[in-house]
């Protein structure tokens, strides 16, 4: 045990290694962390680039109904959709999504096409 003693002493006087969570806030995510994705309805033109490239098939596009359905629970936040989007309509935010009881399904009605025409 004597070999471990310096570590033990250092820990004894060294203060906390963790954050005192309920009393202090959690660490802010890093600037370029991948937390969740957000859609900008004003920019999206329903081209379907994101849906075709999504490895988890989390995005569904229905051009007739002018709908973009996003299954947040399927999303693996790989950022492929944001890279594929030509209109910058998908943003990756560093803040992670809060836990949920039922799987959220976001339905977007993009207006980008009307604006462009």
């Amino acid at each position: 045990m004597p070999l471990m003693l310096p570590t033990v002493i250092r820990n004894f006087f060294g203060g906390y290694a963790t954050r005192l969570y309920p009393f202090k806030d959690v660490r802010e995510p890093f600037v370029r962390a991948r937390g969740h994705i957000e859609f900008d309805e004003n920019k999206c033109i329903l081209c379907g680039n994101c849906a075709r490239r999504c490895p988890a098939a989390a995005i569904e596009i229905n051009k007739e109904k002018n709908e973009l359905v996003f299954n947040a629970a399927h999303c693996i936040i790989c950022e492929v959709c944001a890279e594929a989007c030509n209109k910058d309509a998908i943003r990756v935010e560093p803040k992670w999504r809060a836990p949920f009881y039922s799987k959220p399904v976001e339905v977007h009605h993009p207006k980008g096409k009307e604006k462009a025409s």
Partner: protein, 360 residues
Amino acid sequence: MAPRTVAPFGPQHPVLPEPIQLKITYEDEKVVDVVPAIGYGHRGIEKACELNEYPKNIYLCERICGICSCIHGISYCEVVERLWPIDVPPRAKYLRTIWSEMSRTHSHLLWLGLLADAFGFESMFMQFWRIREKVLDLLEMTTGQRVTQSISVVGGVRRDIDDEQKKKCIEVLREVRKESEALINVLANDYTVKARTVGKGVLTKEQAIALGCAGPHLRASGVKEDCRMQGLQAYGDLGFEPIVEKDGDCYARTLVRCRELLQAIDLQLEAFSKMPEGEIAVRPKGNPPANEAVYRAEQPRGEVFYYAKGNGTRNLERLRVRTPTYANIPSLLVMLPGCELPDVPVIVLSIDPCISCTER
């Protein structure tokens, strides 16, 4: 003759993070026979890779295993690049090396913690995992996520490390190195640790080669084989020399991983200092041609083998992944018989089992 008892070890056992069952026959407290039973984590990823388009497979391959996920993604990209073949820009090669070594650092810290936990050294376990957290933070800062980094694409990498991040990485890695050295000193010299590991689960050099072991497990038996010796990525420039121990027992395996941990940090620091400027990715032209390729990389647990066969479409004809634990499980059949019951967890853990890797 003493009566024989058959007792299962696993699939749920405190030292096993993942499910594998070993049907062990004991004679009193001595192990006489072992039969492994796997199949609790099979997900059919190889089949799914044939049905997916090839760029989507990167994210699937990363999910073969959580701990070595970064190297799985990189290896998949490398093997698919060999179908054309595509030459990756030098900066991307360095970045891949840095992230590979970073994931090796966190994986070895995780394993050293688990080993300490397996023989009941709880405080050591906490200490190692505390250091590991810093490395995970570095990964999150540079790649965007802690575990599934999704950093590699066919033709290069997706993100660059800028100067500010580089400075921070070097600073934290030096800290990690200093803290790990203090703990490794305890692990390598403490008599309680030695009592649990020295002379346990001995595998000779001849046995290790005949059983086809891989990685630190093989090098602990005195075989100088490491896929980084091929000089791929940036390893050729970094003057890499594999770490070898002679004894082939649990203690030797621990020492190999301890020294590899420090070496991985040194390799990262050196790669940071030598990293060239330039492009980080090239775009592949068209679909993977009808060709086949093999790629071997060194994961924290050993040699990973990727085989890909293209057919000119966006889907691959066949992808085969052989992970290091797949090669190391048969060695348990030789190491376990003859040992005592309390040594079973330490010996099983000393191959660094990763079962979801094995079953894919």
